[in-house]
Symmetry: C2
DNA sequence: TAAAGAATTTACCGATTGGTACAGTCATGC
DNA sequence: GCATGACTGTACCAATCGGTAAATTCTTTA
C-alpha cells in the first residue's frame, strides 16, 4: 500500500467530520485546512479538483462503508430477521446514538444537492433495495416490502434531524426501536 | 396596514424559497438580491442585521404558519382523529407532495444549526406536543403518544429528504399515508 | 405643496472565498 | 549517495463574501 493511498484515507475521515458539521458550503478551505492540519498545497495534491473532489471522496468512502457493513449483510445474512436487527444495531452505532448526522442527508438538504445527486440516489436506492430484499426473505408481504423499507430509511434520516433539533439524542434510539419492531412484526 | 409590513412580508416568501433551495450558507446576498429583486440597500433597510435577521424572519413566519394551520387545529379540532387526518393533508399540501423541503430541517442539517437552535427546538417540540395531545384525546395509549408523535414528525422530515434524494416525490406520499394509518390504528 | 420619512440606488469597504503556481523538503528505491 | 517523485509551505490571484454609507427618489401626510 503506497503512502499516497494511506494518507489520503486518513484525511477523508476528518473531511467527513467537517462536511457533516458545517455542510458543503459551510466547509471552507480554511476550515478544512485547520481541521485536517494540511495546507492547501497538500490538499490540492490529494484532491486536484478541490473541494468537490474532497466531498466526492468522502461520499464514496461512506457508500463503501454502508455497502460493506449494512447492505451486504442484509443480503447475505443467513436469517434475514437477524440481519435486519443487526442493521439497526450498526446504524445506531454509526450515528453515535443520534449525536451524529448523516452526511448524505446533510448534502441532500443543502444547495449542493444537485452536484451529488448521483451519489445520493445510489446510496438511498441501494439501501432500499437491500432492505426490501431482506424483508422479502423474512416473509414480509410483497405489497409491504418497498413501502416499509422507505419508511424505515426515511425514518432514520428524520430521526437524526429530530434528535439534533430537540437536542435530545435519545429520540433517535426511541424511533429506531419502533422501526425495528415494525420490521419484526411484518414477518410471516 | 402600513406599506412597510406588507412589503416586508412579500419579501419573506421569496427569502424562504432561497434559503430552502440553497441552504443558509448557500444563500448569498447576491443570490437573494437577484431572486427578490431588491438591492442590498433595501434588504438592509428591512433587515438591519442582515442575513441572520432575514433567516430569523423566515423561520418566525414558518413557525407562525404551522402554529395556525397545523398545531392549533390539532388542539382545537372537535374530533381529534379528524384533526390528525387534516394535519397530514395540510402537510402534504405545504410540502408540495414531496417536492419541497422543510426549511427547519434544512437549517437543522446545516452548519447554521447553532445559530437557530432555539427556533428549531421550539418548532419540533411544539409539533410533538400538539400531536401527542391530539393522540391523547383520540385515545392512544399514554405509553404510545410521545413516541408515535416523534415517529411521525421525524418520519415526515426523513421522507422529504428521501423523496428528494431518490428524485421520487411520490415516496413522500407513500410514507405519509403509512404514518397516517399508524395514527389511526393507535386509537382506542 | 412642502416637509418627513420610507425606500432605493450606487459605490464602496475589508475580509474571505476557492483555486493556482512553484520552490523547497522529504522519503524512498536504485 | 543520488535521482525521483511524493509531499508541503508560502505567496499570490481574481472573484465574491457580508456589510456600510450616503445621496437620491418616491410616498405619505399635514
Amino acid at each position: 500500500m503506497s503512502r499516497v493511498v494511506a494518507e489520503r484515507q486518513d484525511v477523508i475521515a476528518t473531511l467527513a467530520e467537517v462536511f457533516r458539521e458545517h455542510g458543503y458550503d459551510g466547509a471552507s478551505l480554511s476550515l478544512i485546512t485547520e481541521k485536517t492540519g494540511l495546507g492547501k498545497g497538500s490538499l490540492y495534491h490529494f484532491f486536484p479538483r478541490g473541494k468537490e473532489e474532497m466531498a466526492e471522496a468522502v461520499l464514496g468512502d461512506i457508500a463503501t462503508w454502508f455497502q460493506t457493513n449494512i447492505f451486504d449483510p442484509l443480503r447475505s445474512g443467513e436469517t434475514p430477521a437477524a440481519a435486519i436487527d443487526d442493521m439497526f444495531t450498526a446504524v445506531d452505532s454509526y450515528f453515535r446514538q443520534g449525536r451524529r448526522l448523516c452526511l448524505m442527508g446533510v448534502i441532500a438538504a443543502s444547495g449542493a444537492h444537485d452536484r451529488f445527486s448521483v451519489e445520493l440516489n445510489r446510496y438511498f436506492a441501494d439501501w432500499r433495495t437491500a432492505l426490501a430484499e431482506a424483508l422479502d426473505r423474512q416473509g414480509t408481504a410483497e405489497s409491504e416490502r418497498q413501502a416499509l423499507a422507505e419508511e424505515v430509511i426515511g425514518g432514520i434520516q428524520g430521526a437524526l434531524i429530530l434528535a439534533r433539533s430537540l437536542d435530545d439524542p435519545q429520540a433517535f434510539g426511541r424511533v429506531l426501536s419502533r422501526l425495528k419492531a415494525r420490521c419484526r412484526s411484518s414477518q410471516n
